[in-house]
Symmetry: C2
Subunit: 400 residues, 2 copies
């Protein structure tokens, strides 16, 4: 029952729309911005003026036009003056990067996880804060950090970012945002989100999902998570827990046991452990290298590796078909180690989708692997950290 926006709100919306355009699409002339945003040229002039005065964009000659004559100025994001801090608490490493407006990696640091089980959130926060301080100290004078976001393998409450549960780190009800913020020399909000949701955001804004309004991103590591974009927006659900596809049960009576206590969850049937065990390997030695070695062995004709990929591909196809019937996406993207699993089992995955997904729903479906590779989640964290600036540019910058 929300009423329409005030004139002030409309101006903020327009500033956000223009800034998002150059952030995602890169340098753009004022004339093109006017057409794309459906605003007249004098409005665009005013908006560009405000964003320039705030230090968010600048106008300059394009680098190369390939055309004769004097080229038009283009509006470009101030990548070296405005940045965010993105953090990925991965399964195998802690990674962090300073990423400039427009999505430019300015600096990055990473390390393996420290020893200790369950890992101490304060210790993790201290290591990452050390990286952040190094990178911020090297950032140009006068540049601003406008947001911080952290990707977590686990269940994260929205909007406060409480880490409800991370099976592999043993965290339960941890305020990692608070622990990290307390150690940072910054006065901006620290956001925390689930890795598959951030992967979906990254692929939707900067990867193979650009232009799609309805996609599912599947992220595989030890577990399997999904991030779902519906009608252009990230599906969050009531408390931010949507997308727990790893615990979609597909084999309740005969299924393999899952870490959650149930039997036959998708990640129990199609996760890294299931693949490695089906291939006769040690299921405890999960990770990208272990998964790749099964795919490579299958390529070379190893019978048990082939059978394992066939089996896991079948369950993966069952899971994807269910998602297709439920979400009607036009695109399903496989990321993390599911990228390799899919490349080694695509025929089986597709065959199962053809059996299980309704014809009308699967008709225009595209199945693709992640384009952004190992940085998908980190890029998604940066996009989350930028989201406030991209919605209310001037207010956000004033606060940071």
């Amino acid at each position: 029952m929300k009423a329409g926006p005030s004139q002030d709100e409309v101006r903020q919306q327009n500033l956000g729309a223009l800034l998002r355009h150059v952030h995602f699409d890169g340098p753009t002339s004022r004339a093109v911005l006017a057409t794309r945003l459906g605003l007249n040229r004098s409005t665009i002039l005013g908006l560009v003026g405000d964003l320039t005065a705030a230090g968010l964009v600048r106008e300059e000659l394009p680098q190369e036009t390939g055309r004769a004559g004097r080229p038009s100025l283009v509006v470009r994001p101030e990548s070296t003056r405005v940045h965010v801090l993105a953090v990925d608490l991965g399964v195998e490493r802690l990674a962090t990067a300073l990423i400039g407006l427009g999505g430019v990696f300015l600096d990055r640091r990473e390390c393996p996880w420290p020893d200790g089980h369950p890992q101490d959130p304060a210790q993790v926060a201290a290591i990452l804060a050390g990286f952040a301080q190094e990178m911020l100290a090297r950032a140009p004078d006068g540049s601003s950090c406008v947001g911080v976001a952290v990707a977590v393998r686990g269940i994260v409450r929205h909007p406060d970012g409480l880490v409800s549960l991370t099976p592999n780190m043993g965290w339960k009800g941890v305020d990692f945002a608070g622990a990290f913020a307390a150690r940072l020399p910054l006065d901006v909000p620290v956001l925390v989100a689930n890795e598959a949701n951030l992967g979906a955001l990254a692929e939707h804004r900067r990867g193979i999902g650009r232009g799609s309004q309805n996609l599912v991103y599947l992220h595989g590591e030890i577990g399997i998570g999904a991030g779902v974009i519906t009608d252009g927006e990230l599906l969050r659900g009531e408390r931010g827990y949507a997308g727990e596809i790893g615990h979609m049960n597909v084999n309740p009576y005969q299924g393999r046991p899952c870490g959650c206590g149930a039997h036959g969850c998708l990640e129990a049937e199609a996760g890294e452990r299931a693949l490695l065990e089906a291939a006769g390997r040690d299921g405890r030695l999960t990770g990208a290298d272990a998964v790749r070695s099964v795919v490579t062995a299958a390529d070379r004709g190893d019978v048990s590796a082939r059978a394992a990929l066939h089996r896991v591909g079948d369950w993966l196809g069952i899971g994807i078909a269910n998602l297709v019937n439920l979400f009607d996406p036009d695109l399903v993207i496989l990321g993390g180690t599911l990228r390799d699993v899919f490349l080694g089992s695509a025929a089986q995955v597709r065959s199962r989708i053809n059996t299980n997904a309704l014809a009308a729903v699967r008709e225009h479906l595209r199945l693709r692997v992640s384009e952004l590779g190992d940085d998908t989640v980190l890029i998604g964290a940066a996009e989350l950290a930028f989201s406030e600036l991209l919605t209310r540019p001037l207010e956000t910058l004033t606060r940071s």
Copy 2:
């Protein structure tokens, strides 16, 4: 990258917001409207004036206030002057109603399906158009029909409403909207949508789902469908096919055969046929009475009826747990014959959800049966038919 709205668009949004408020919440004073919509009193005065002049609302003394002193005028929807035509192509009957602004049933007609398999869309359209003409002829002089919507048991493409597939009627690629519109004495769009999506809309706007922003409505008849509300909006997916939960596969290797060609779809394990067959009855004689008779028999202690409800309740719980893990709703509503099935198997359903849904996700979950009963889908069709008017009141009325 959409820019903010123009002043004209803001005015339309405000008119829509005010009209939606009185449509859903009933007669409301101008002072309360100002508070609820966050607009000042002079803006409200202008909006009420425009809507009154258009014949969409009127101001009058409230019927009973229970308070001393002169009561304030209230703004109420013109239920007898502005209406829609709602149609439900149910499994057992064709139903149609004239429903006034504010959700008032003004008139209704229904009949069993005509003989003939596959049912002829033109014949069905002709019967319903006959009902419509009778009801429209009895509507007050000067009243307007502003929209028509039809609920279909099947897969319906959005936004054009093409009926891609209706398993029980045998329709495939049928333009029922066109066939019906051609026989109606009306110049308004005819919308077609899936029954579970309309059930979700009805419960969200007028039933037990009021106030919830993230709910799943499960509709059971011969098949099982779902309508999902996420962040206050109906989930449609890329082509309108989202919510095909009946074909979410939960038992691919040992499952019962499904009409779609796969094995172990949720509707094959938990649909009416599965219940009746598990109870030792004729699985072809589906329908509300047959389902109720199993529930009644179980209440009286019939062992096979109890075992059947236990079995079907277990699969239903598995299906609901999957939806809970995927959508993180705060409310799951069971409608159609799943209402009776759930009342007869609630303990089993809840027990399975407790095993299969993640603790954080199920923690605040409420499971409820539909409040709107047999009219849920018809009410949802009416809300769909009103949606254009409630978004752009004056433009829509001018056209109708």
